[in-house]
């Protein structure tokens, strides 16, 4: 179990307790965080769970795999800190993670 802070496009802050192994996308959907539509349900297809990882957390969260990288390259608003929330599984070392939601 870890606490994640999601900050939406308007600056609203959502805190969620997310269980180990559950993805950041699922944590956001469970808490109805705006901008995480997760249309494909976590299959790394639709890119509707685009988030930015706060700089201090990027090394701990890690880099996207090849499929996720290639998907992100075609997404609007890509930054070096971009990730798809459905591809990040929660673990205790991510306790306190802060992410910004890319879309409205």
């Amino acid at each position: 179990m870890a606490t994640v802070t999601y900050i939406d496009k308007s600056g609203n802050v959502y805190q969620a307790e997310v269980e180990d192994g559950v993805t950041l996308m699922e944590g956001a959907v469970h808490s109805s965080v705006p901008g995480i539509d997760a249309e494909c349900g976590g299959a790394c297809v639709c890119a509707t769970c685009h988030i930015y990882i706060d700089e201090e957390w990027q090394a701990t969260v890690g880099r996207p795999n090849e499929i996720e990288s290639m998907t992100l390259e075609e997404v609007d608003g890509i930054k070096p800190s971009s990730r798809l929330a459905c591809q990040i599984a929660m673990s205790s070392e991510l306790d306190g993670l802060v992410v910004h939601v890319a879309n409205e």
Binding site: E26, C40, A43, V45, I67, T71, E73, E74
Partner: protein, 411 residues
């Protein structure tokens, strides 16, 4: 503005579930009632033929939204409830338990059911179809411990289950009537690629054969007899030969039905107070300029947004290009568009490298992109199909040219 209107949704699948979410997101603040004949809140179906079969995942993780969402959003959910009849003159639904529900807007999201094998012989406890959670739970319980699975029908559901079964060490035979897998829905290049991938992992693929007879012993299927005389022993079987729209309620109510409930660009049926979305709807697809009955997630999402916009009196969303995906083994397939009326397929990349795409054209027009482990081609292809962007066929065939540089730019 809408707060006295009553919206009743029949069907708790992806279409019905996404409509609830979309209605509130669009600002519809009237009453919402979701009537589902299933026992679970709306859940993700795609994993049921994929990872879910091999993993232990709680039901809650499949939910589109947690249970609390429906309370917070003032949505009345009626599970295990079957609709008997629509009384259009009174704008009223009658449920099997005698309950009557009044509506201002009725949305039929009743989905489709598995097409049964056209064979006498009845039901067997180890013969399955796969449409919903109840089907999947029965299949999963028997798949773990099975020795030989017979898959009847080489479509996506059958092939995804075949892949999951192989990963569990189960022997698999796929029986396909056509000369190739995915014959109605994929290019030849993609069909042949999947045939090789499954064969390389030990799946026995039988093409150009039909099922002549099912043999059983004490209520259990024991073998499938093919119409060429070959008999395939099995202790588990899955039938995946397509789906039939659940349009009976609409038909009985006198709505226009033609292989699904016929709707317009607002997802409205021939009764202006009644809408139909998802697998059950026969809908116009402006990008392709014709009517279709689609069975995919992107269709349910798009039509949910359309109905939400209409009911919330918002502008209609932009037309979308259908999209689809399949996960088999470690192969990610993504498809943008529909491969209809295609006359030329251009293959980009080498299928032997497990990273390639097929650009499917009708004349000069790009109709569909099949992308294997190639998300950029999928994402760009979807944009190009929607925008009607011309694609240079010579460039797209050259995988050393960046896919972004393959669109023909108008000066």
């Amino acid at each position: 503005m809408n707060n006295n209107k009553k919206a009743v949704i029949v069907g708790g699948g992806h279409a019905g579930g996404n409509l609830v979410i979309a209605l509130r997101k669009a600002g519809f603040d009237g009453h919402i009632t979701l009537v589902s004949d299933e026992g679970a809140l709306p859940y993700q179906r795609p994993p049921l033929s994929k990872s879910w079969l091999n993993e232990s995942v709680t039901l809650e993780r499949l939910y589109l939204k947690p249970a609390a969402f429906y309370d917070e959003q003032r949505v009345q959910v009626m599970l295990n409830s079957t609709v008997e009849r629509i009384q259009r003159n009174d704008k009223r639904l009658l449920l099997a338990d005698g309950t009557a529900l009044e509506y201002d807007y009725l949305v039929l999201a009743t989905g489709a059911r598995a097409r049964p094998l056209a064979l006498p012989g009845g039901e067997f406890e180890n013969l399955h179809c796969l449409r919903n959670l109840a089907d999947a739970e029965r299949l999963k319980a028997q798949l773990h411990g099975a020795t030989h699975l017979a898959v009847i029908g080489g479509g996506y559901i059958g092939l995804e289950v075949a892949a999951s079964a192989r990963q569990l060490g189960v022997k698999v035979s796929v029986i396909e009537r056509e000369s190739r897998l995915l014959a109605r829905v994929a290019s030849e290049t993609l069909s042949h690629y999947y045939q090789r991938q499954h064969q390389a992992r030990g799946v026995d693929i039988l093409n150009r054969v039909g099922v002549a007879e099912l043999k059983s012993d004490a209520g259990r299927l024991t073998s499938v007899v093919l119409d060429n005389g070959v008999e395939t022993a099995c202790d588990l079987a899955l039938v995946g030969i397509g789906a039939i729209p659940n349009d009976e309620l609409a038909r009985a109510a006198g709505l226009q039905v033609d292989n699904g409930i016929v709707v317009d660009h607002q997802a409205r049926t021939s009764d202006p107070a009644i809408f139909a979305i998802g697998d059950v709807s026969q809908r116009p697809l402006p990008v392709y300029n014709r009517q279709f009955r689609l069975e995919n997630i992107s269709n349910t999402l798009e039509q949910a947004k359309i109905v939400a916009a209409v009911l919330a009196e918002q502008p209609l969303p932009a037309d979308e290009v259908p999209w689809f995906w399949s996960d088999q083994y470690d192969i990610k397939l993504q498809i943008a568009g529909l491969g209809i009326d295609t006359d030329v397929d251009i293959v980009r990349g080498d299928p032997a490298s497990d990273k390639f795409s097929v650009f499917r054209f009708c004349g000069d027009r790009l109709m569909a992109v099949e992308a294997v482990n190639s998300p950029a081609e999928f994402m760009l292809g979807k944009k190009w199909i929607g925008a009607g962007t011309a694609v240079d066929r010579g460039l797209i065939a050259d995988a050393s040219v960046s896919v972004r540089d393959c669109a023909v730019l108008h000066s």
